[in-house]
C-alpha cells in the first residue's frame, strides 16, 4: 500500500469529512427504548423496527435465495462480493434413483446446450450455496455438492436449472457486447408491475421508492453497457453454467431478477422463459435450437400479480383468478376452483399470493400466501381439482422469503435466516438445511 500512501491519507481524510458532512437523518435518540421487542416509535429502536416492518411488508420479492426440495438440490446464488443470496432454484435430479421427478428431456440437443446435453446428464448433486461468485449445490442430505464458478458474471440475479445438469444464470457480464435494440415484435404477453408486493402499509411513496431503486439499478447497468439511461442494458447477460465446463453465453439479454428465469420442456425440448428488459415482455429461448421468440400467449392485461412456468405450462394469477396455458399450443387449460388471493395492483393492503412455482409436471402449484401480514403460508394446490393439498402457516417472511417446489417437497427460506426448510407435501415432515453464509 505504500505506493498509494498519499492516496490513503487523502482517502482517510476525505471519507471522514464526507461522513461528517452527511445530511441529518431520522436516526433519533435511542435512549428511551425500554424494550426493543415492543417498539416505541418515539425511540430509535422503535423507529427502526417500525421502518423495518413497513418495508418488510412490501418487499415480497427481495428474493435472495432459491431453495429446493425433496430429492432435488437446493441452490442459492451469491454475489462475488459475498453473502447475498440472489436466487434459489430446484434442480430436478436427472436419472437419479432418489426421485420420480425426472425431467422428460430425451433429445440430444445440438443448440445452445451443446452436444453433451443428452438425457441423464450428471445432475448437480447435493444442495448448494454460492460464495464469491460460485453456485454451490446442496444435496438432500444437506451436504455441499458441486461448485460451479459463475465467472464472468457478477451481481448474479437469478438461476434456474436447465434440466440437463447445468444452470441458466443471469448477472452482470464483464463488458458490453453488441448493442441490441428492442425488437420489432410486439409481444402479447406482458407483465406490468404485478403489485404483488405486499404490505398493509404499502403506500404510493414506498411504491415509488421501489420503482426508483429498480430503475436506478437498470440505469447503472445500461450506463455500464454504453446505453442511454432509461433504456435497457444492451449486453447479453445470460449464460449456461455446468460444473467443469466453460460458461456458454446464450446470446440474449434478460431482465435479471429473482424468479425471472424458468426452464421447462415444450415439445420435448428445454425452453428458457425470460423477460426482455427492452420491452418488459415475456420471451422464450429454445435451448436446443437457439431460436428466440416472443411468447405469443394472450393472457390478458388486468391485474397480473404473479406468473409461473413449469411442466410446459404457464400459470398466471390475476384479479380474475388463476389461469393456465399450454406453452406448446398457447391454448388455455381448465383449472379447478383454486383459492389463491390476488391483490389488485392499486391496492395497498389485503391478502396476496407470491412466489408461485409450478411442479415439474405442471399439475400442482406452490406459492407463498399472506393475509397481508409479514409472514406467509406455504400452500400447495392441485390445479385440476383446485384442492388445497398442503398448507404450512407462517412458514416464511414476506420480505426475503423464497420458495422452490419440485412436486413433492417445498423448500422455503429467507435471506435473513440462513436456513432453508424443506417441507414434504405428502407427510408434512420438515427438515432444515443450514445454508451457511447466505445470511448475515
Amino acid at each position: 500500500m505504500t505506493a498509494h500512501a498519499d492516496l490513503e491519507t487523502r482517502l482517510r481524510a476525505g471519507l471522514r469529512a464526507a461522513g461528517d458532512a452527511l445530511p441529518d437523518a431520522e436516526l433519533s435518540d435511542p435512549g428511551r427504548a425500554a424494550d426493543p421487542t415492543e417498539p416505541d416509535h418515539r425511540t430509535a429502536a422503535g423507529s427502526a423496527l417500525a421502518r423495518h416492518r413497513r418495508s418488510a411488508g412490501l418487499a415480497a420479492a427481495v428474493a435472495t435465495m432459491v431453495a429446493v426440495a425433496g430429492a432435488g438440490a437446493i441452490v442459492a446464488t451469491r454475489d462475488d462480493d459475498g453473502r447475498d443470496g440472489a436466487d434459489v432454484a430446484t434442480e430436478p435430479t436427472v436419472g437419479s434413483s432418489t426421485t420420480d421427478s425426472t425431467p422428460r428431456m430425451t433429445a440430444g440437443p445440438t443448440g445452445v446446450l451443446g452436444d453433451d446435453a443428452g438425457p441423464g446428464v450428471d445432475p448437480v448433486a447435493g444442495s448448494a450455496v454460492i460464495t464469491d461468485g460460485e453456485l454451490v449445490t446442496y444435496g438432500p442430505d444437506g451436504r455441499p455438492g458441486a461448485t460451479v464458478p459463475l465467472t464472468p458474471l457478477a451481481d448474479v440475479g437469478a438461476a434456474a436449472p436447465d434440466l440437463h445438469g447445468g444452470w441458466i444464470v443471469c448477472g452482470t457480464p464483464p463488458a458490453p457486447t453488441t448493442s441490441t435494440p428492442p425488437g420489432g415484435t410486439r409481444p402479447t404477453f406482458t407483465v406490468p408491475d404485478p403489485g404483488a408486493a405486499t404490505s398493509e402499509e404499502r403506500t404510493p411513496e414506498l411504491e415509488a421508492e421501489i420503482v426508483e431503486a429498480e430503475m436506478e439499478r437498470l440505469d447503472e447497468v445500461a450506463e455500464e453497457a454504453g446505453a442511454q439511461p432509461g433504456t435497457a442494458p444492451a449486453q447479453h447477460n445470460a449464460y449456461r453454467f455446468r460444473a467443469g465446463e466453460e460458461p456458454v453465453p446464450l446470446g440474449v439479454n434478460v431482465y435479471c431478477v429473482a424468479d425471472s428465469l424458468s426452464v421447462t420442456e415444450v415439445d420435448g425440448r428445454p425452453v428458457l422463459f425470460y423477460v426482455s428488459p427492452a420491452t418488459f415482455s415475456g420471451r422464450q429461448l429454445d435451448l436446443v435450437t437457439g431460436a428466440d421468440a416472443a411468447l405469443e400467449i394472450d393472457v390478458g392485461d388486468a391485474g397480473l400479480s404473479d406468473v409461473a412456468v413449469g411442466g410446459g405450462r404457464l400459470a398466471v394469477l390475476g384479479d380474475t383468478g388463476l389461469g393456465l396455458w399450454d406453452l406448446a399450443t398457447g391454448e388455455p387449460i381448465a383449472v379447478g376452483p383454486v383459492d389463491l388471493p390476488s391483490r389488485p395492483a392499486d391496492a395497498t393492503s389485503g391478502p396476496f399470493t407470491d412466489d408461485m412455482e409450478l411442479s415439474p409436471d405442471g399439475a400442482t402449484l406452490a406459492a407463498l400466501v399472506s393475509d397481508g401480514s409479514a409472514l406467509a403460508d406455504v400452500v400447495v394446490v392441485d390445479l385440476a381439482s383446485g384442492a388445497e393439498l398442503f398448507r404450512r402457516p407462517d412458514a416464511a417472511p414476506v420480505e426475503g422469503g423464497e420458495l422452490s417446489f419440485d412436486g413433492t417437497s417445498v423448500a422455503v427460506g429467507s435471506f435473513y435466516d440462513g436456513q432453508a426448510t424443506v417441507l414434504d407435501v405428502a407427510t408434512g415432515a420438515e427438515r432444515t438445511i443450514d445454508a451457511h453464509g447466505i445470511m448475515p
Binding site: M1, H4, L7, E8, R10, L11, R12, G14, L15, R16, A17, A18, G19, D20, L22, A25, L27, P30, G31, D35, P36, T37, P39, T43, A44, A45, A48, L49, R51, H52, S55, A59, A61, V62, T64, D81, R83, D84, A86, D132, A158, P192, D193, P194, A197, I210, V211, E212, A213, E214, E216, R217, L218, V257, A258, S260, F280, G400, F415, P440
Partner: protein, 171 residues
C-alpha cells in the same frame, strides 16, 4: 468510530450479554458511524440511511443472538449492505418510469475524490470504507464482510489503483 473487531472493548463485551437494554447502548455508539459507512459504501445517502435502520432493526429484533457475536457492528454493516443490494435488485417486472436524482455523499472540497469514489463498485467501496473510514484491518474487514482476506486485499488493491488512475486524469 466502530471498534476494531479483534479488540472488543469492555463496552462491547458487556453489550454481548443477553440484555435488551444493552441494545440502546449499542445503538448510541454505532448507529451514526454505521450510517456513515453504509452511505459512503453504497454511494447513496437515502439508501444508506435506510439500510442502517434495517440493520439496526434486525439487530434489535434478535439482540440476544447478535450481542453474542464477535463483532455486532461488523454484522450490522454486512446486514445493511446485503439488504441494500437486495433492495436494488428488487425483482419485479416493472414499467420504466423516470426517477428523480438521489442524494449522493460528497467529499467536501475534493470533487475529484468524490467522483473517483463514485466510480468504484459498491463492493470496492465497502472495503475501502472499512479500511479508511472505520480503520479496520484487512482481517477484520474480511471477517465483517464474510469474505476471504485475500479478496479484501485484491479488492482494495484494485480500488486504489482505480482511484489513483482517476485522480491522475479526472476526466
Amino acid at each position: 468510530m466502530i471498534d476494531r473487531l479483534s479488540t472488543a472493548s469492555v463496552e462491547q463485551r458487556s453489550a454481548r450479554a443477553p440484555d435488551h437494554g444493552r441494545f440502546d447502548a449499542f445503538y448510541r455508539r454505532h448507529a451514526r458511524p454505521l450510517r456513515q459507512a453504509l452511505c459512503l459504501a453504497l454511494g447513496d445517502v437515502d439508501l444508506g440511511t435506510e439500510a442502517t435502520d434495517e440493520a439496526m432493526a434486525r439487530a434489535c429484533a434478535r439482540w440476544d443472538e447478535v450481542a453474542a457475536y464477535a463483532n455486532p457492528p461488523g454484522w450490522a454493516y454486512r446486514v445493511g449492505l446485503n439488504w441494500a443490494r437486495s433492495r436494488l435488485r428488487r425483482r419485479r417486472w416493472r414499467d420504466l418510469r423516470p426517477v428523480p436524482d438521489r442524494p449522493a455523499p460528497a467529499v467536501p472540497h475534493d470533487h475529484d475524490l468524490t467522483v473517483a469514489l463514485g466510480r468504484l463498485t459498491v463492493e470496492q467501496r465497502a472495503v475501502v470504507v472499512c479500511r479508511y473510514l472505520l480503520d479496520w484491518s484487512e482481517d477484520d474487514t474480511a471477517a465483517a464482510l464474510d469474505i476471504p482476506t485475500g479478496t479484501v486485499k485484491s479488492r482494495l488493491s484494485r480500488a486504489l489503483d482505480q482511484l489513483a488512475r482517476h485522480l491522475e486524469d479526472p476526466r
